[in-house]
Symmetry: C2
Subunit: 329 residues, 2 copies
């Protein structure tokens, strides 16, 4: 490359990093050569001295369409930068997640975004000691990494209040259980669940509290709802902590011969685009994943540029009422 342009490798490097001390003429010469050769700098070699211009995005899995919104937001933001994000699946256990993070670290990514990680705060801080970290969907306050999350407390409250206002009293909840050892107050599903309990209590419905502990996926929602719908008296509404679970709850209701919302109302969380389909028409909470992904990218780059003070970015959830919830009969 350098020889083709008849300049030094240093010059090429400087142009690539638009560093100080290159004449416009030199810059042009190099840029022309880059074009002509279709030259692509080896991120790997750059990484030996400095940055790889690579970010890691650790997703628990890729089955939740909400994650796609986050990814799209991140990608859109990075488009204007030299950085590229690679995704890796964190999986269902801390061990697998740790392996994914190690894989990223050993490949010298410049920073890591972790979505709803299972790792403890202490573990995340260890990672943050090596590379800049932004954590999505967890609420703890760490001096060593940034956080991006929606106000799950408020979101869950919106759903439960909505159901109560419709006249429901026997409102059940499906929550998620995972391998995490983080404080429950920092985990989104625990927060949603706790908010559900709190609002129920505040309305004198403590005796109606009914929680199925399952998983935030279709099968989990199905299992959870089956269990809840077998109880007597049967709940008249189910708040599933995530749309994916709500889809399973709708399936369970259908299978039990119950019609939604006439026999049982169902609400979710995340407002995935499936929720908007007319035959599903699921009441849900919207939390702008695109914006969250975008913010995560921005914060991570800031940290890579040297920021050390922690930032917390929150998104305000909004209730989207659809046909899956109505007054009980």
């Amino acid at each position: 490359m350098a020889s083709h342009a008849q300049v030094s490798v240093t010059a090429v490097s400087k142009v690539l990093n638009n560093a100080y001390g290159v004449s416009p003429a030199m810059k042009n010469k190099v840029k022309t050569a880059i074009e002509e050769l279709g030259y692509r700098p080896q991120a790997v070699a750059r990484g030996m001295r400095g940055r790889t211009f690579t970010l890691g995005l650790v997703l628990p899995h890729i089955r939740n369409p909400f994650f796609a919104d986050i990814l799209d937001g991140l990608t859109a933001y990075l488009e204007t930068t030299d950085y590229q994000a690679f995704m890796i699946q964190g999986g269902a256990t801390r061990k697998v997640e740790q392996r994914a993070v190690d894989a990223l670290l050993s490949r010298q990514v410049d920073g890591i975004i972790m979505v709803a990680p299972l790792a403890s705060k202490a573990r995340l801080e260890e990672v943050a000691k090596e590379k800049p970290v932004v954590v999505l969907a967890r609420h703890e306050r760490s001096p060593h990494y940034d956080s991006v999350f929606d106000d799950d407390e408020a979101g869950a409250e919106l759903v439960v209040r909505h159901l109560i206002e419709l006249g429901h009293r026997r409102i059940a909840h499906i929550t998620h259980q995972d391998d995490s050892i983080a404080r429950s107050a920092d985990l989104l599903h625990s927060i949603r669940s706790a908010a559900y309990e709190r609002v129920m209590r505040e309305h004198g419905l403590e005796d109606e509290i009914a929680i199925a502990t399952s998983f935030y996926h279709e099968q989990g929602g199905y299992d959870g709802a089956r269990e809840l719908l077998r109880r007597a008296p049967r709940p008249t509404a189910i708040f599933a902590g995530a749309d994916q679970a709500a889809l399973g709850a709708l399936a369970a209701a259908h299978e039990a011969g119950l019609s939604v919302p006439a026999d049982v109302s169902v609400a979710g969380y995340d407002n995935t685009h499936l929720a908007a389909l007319p035959n599903i028409s699921l009441t849900s909470i919207d939390q702008d994943g695109h914006e969250m992904g975008r913010a995560a990218g921005k914060l991570l780059l800031e940290r890579i540029e040297g920021r050390r003070t922690p930032v917390r970015f929150t998104v305000t959830p909004t209730l989207v009422v659809r046909a899956s919830t109505a007054a009980p009969r």
Copy 2:
């Protein structure tokens, strides 16, 4: 690291690569030191001389749960190896896809798996000239890369025959249109679409052929089905080329006040786990994505190890009949 173990860096390298010429004693010494230090070899530095032990998986997007099956199969296979796969979104245009591939190439991945790529065969071969490539879900025969796909011709035929055997004659189809400039005979959606037409003809139903060209996603299926259901006479069955589109078709049917399968039968392709939910219960084609991901990983590693002869791995699709299809009334 080497100094801590009191051995040469060469020894460490040899142990890491379990290469020829290290005594068991040396091996132990090094392994102990690795443990003690929590040493993680820098893939980036290894990559300067040889391999990065990193594979790239280019997915069009992460909204199709079928891709998650592929990823799981690939991950399961790689677990027994030293390789790690990173995902990157290929997007909806050739340009964005090319950028993703370039990002992978400039990061020196050892090989690339492309799922349903938009690029031309010639372009894929150029990439394959730089790094080993395995292409999923395309049918062309290239001497320079391996292919993994299901027999879309057979799969589509299974669906259409099934509908015909139920007694349907006005069977419509929803197909996908993308930015690809590959030969249509190599694109899965074109193959499914062509097989639909062929089987219709073979049964003397050429006059009933009705195709909506849209997209393999929920909105696409919805739009396509709306268009088809407005036609007079209305089709009694819709074969959507993918489950994601079928979900949209179910929504459109619902919205039009049509009940499934009484008024209109709907079938999909991919047998995503959503299809199995009781309230959706979508007839679909299963094509073992897990096995496809696994095979792709295996073939790619073989190529990295030096294989030059192309391999084509095909999966046999099977029909899964559920409640969304029935005899017309």
